[in-house]
């Protein structure tokens, strides 16, 4: 009789461990998603400052520089991806404008912004890769036996990867 009790206790402990590993993996996914938020917010701040510095040089231009979506908490992955895409386009426009204005291109401030943007994008790339790595681990737990059984009881769903390619779904057209 006592062997049966010990066996049941061991099985329960194992079930609890599997449950906790799934919860931990889900937490890591959320935590790493906030890393993407932070990196995108930083990129947004640098780009808007860069945009402000450019306005002084291009005030005679009739085109209006685009407004990008500010990064907010609780944005979905798709919204983050779209905001990132807008920032990519703004950055391209700013760099292209600088090519037309040698004074702007040569200014220390603009060069500092460019360096900051490069570093910021490295951090964003790292945040994306880290997030995707955590998503892979989490999805593996949901799909592989025996954690898949616990995951189905917990009604857990697969997490999405963060993809910021130019031709992804939900491409946002930019106002000029």
């Amino acid at each position: 009789m006592q062997y049966i009790i010990i066996l049941i206790a061991l099985v329960l402990v194992y079930l609890v461990m599997m449950h906790n590993s799934i919860v931990y993996a889900a937490m890591k996914v959320e935590e790493s998603k906030s890393g993407i938020d932070v990196a995108l917010s930083k990129r947004y701040a640098i780009l808007t400052n860069m945009q402000e510095s450019v306005k002084g040089y291009v005030k005679h231009e009739s085109e209006v520089l685009q407004q990008v979506t500010k990064i907010r908490k609780e944005m979905s992955l798709q919204q983050l991806s779209n905001a990132n895409e807008q920032m990519n386009q703004l950055k391209s426009r700013l760099i292209a404008l600088a090519e037309s204005y040698p004074d702007l291109k040569a200014s220390d401030l603009f060069r500092q912004f460019q360096d900051s943007i490069v570093d910021c994008e490295d951090h964003l790339q790292a945040a994306r890769r880290f997030y995707n790595s955590n998503v892979t681990l989490y999805n593996k737990k949901l799909l592989m036996f025996p954690t898949s059984i616990i995951a189905s009881w917990m009604k857990k769903e697969k997490a999405e990867f963060f993809e910021a390619a130019m031709n992804e779904k939900g491409y946002v057209s930019v106002k000029i």
Partner: protein
């Protein structure tokens, strides 16, 4: 140059031979003692003589090594690197190695052949280190070498606050740099996109995002290249803005036997050891801080 070194070598050999002959003479004289109970005296004389011979040999070899390194190796290094600082008798301190979280420290620690300099405008420091573990099992004690080889440090361009360790996997070693009872902060194991890299190395970090920031696909290729090119287990650590590289080649670099003259084979061997340092720096140079101003 080589005559000076040869003079030191011959002096050392003479001293060794004198000590050896002296010890054998003392042993012979002790054997002549007409005593039924001369065993303890013989043993004392024997061990004492052996100790003296070993001390003399050790000192002679040390003087020879220093002469070779100071006279000959110094010029080799000054040809290859800029702003060279050398200290052949000392290397990195135990605390410096411990701060890298790369090489686990045990009971004994030795370090020598400190070299600091610049190569292709990349400032570096390196040293030979050796870590030994005194293992006691019952009445027996034996010494196990846990690490022996080159330890190199360079400054990286990227700024980061945490630390990340990339260790080549080994049988019965999970690569975790944090012992179970340690007061070190929690670390996490991460896996990168490359399965090949994950199978070869284990990555532990105090900040997962920073690990991915440092380990770009391009840089991981460079680390892989270092592992392929150089014999020995490779360990890479990112700490305090620096990259630490340790290669457990189980070789003591730049050594020369007292009974061996400086010859082309040894010179080529030592040149190859210098080329190892150059090769590693060339592979990681793009990620390193350079000392010249770029326009």
């Amino acid at each position: 140059m080589s005559e000076q070194i040869e003079q030191v070598r011959q002096k050392g050999v003479k001293q060794f031979l004198i000590a050896l002959i002296g010890a054998l003479l003392v042993l012979f004289l002790l054997l002549m003692i007409p005593s039924t109970d001369r065993m303890p005296v013989l043993m004392f004389g024997g061990f004492g003589g052996l100790a003296v011979v070993l001390v003399v040999l050790g000192n002679a070899e040390k003087k020879y090594h220093l002469a070779y390194k100071d006279i000959f190796l110094r010029s080799l290094l000054e040809n290859e690197f800029d702003d060279v600082t050398l200290n052949f008798e000392e290397g990195f301190s135990k605390e410096e190695i411990a701060s890298g979280h790369l090489v686990r420290l045990y009971d004994r620690f030795y370090s020598d052949d400190y070299i600091a300099g610049k190569y292709k405008d990349v400032a570096f420091e390196c040293s030979d280190i050796k870590v030994e573990d005194v293992v006691r099992s019952g009445k027996h004690t034996h010494v196990v070498t846990r690490f022996q080889g080159l330890y190199l440090k360079v400054n990286l361009k990227k700024e980061f606050t945490g630390w990340t360790v990339v260790r080549e996997k080994e049988f019965l070693d999970n690569g975790n740099p944090r012992p179970f009872w340690s007061e070190m902060p929690e670390i996490e194991k991460v896996s990168v996109e490359s399965e090949e890299f994950n199978q070869k190395f284990s990555i532990y970090t105090s900040n997962g995002e920073e690990a991915f920031y440092l380990l770009t696909p391009h840089f991981m290729e460079k680390l892989f290249e270092i592992e392929r090119r150089y014999e020995g287990r490779c360990l890479f650590g990112f700490v305090c803005g620096q990259l630490h590289i340790a290669i457990d080649s189980r070789k003591d670099h730049f050594v020369l036997n007292l009974f061996e003259k400086v010859n082309e084979y040894r010179i080529a061997e030592h040149q190859a050891e210098i080329d190892t340092i150059k090769g590693i720096i060339e592979l990681v140079a793009k990620e390193c801080e350079t000392t010249c101003n770029t326009l």
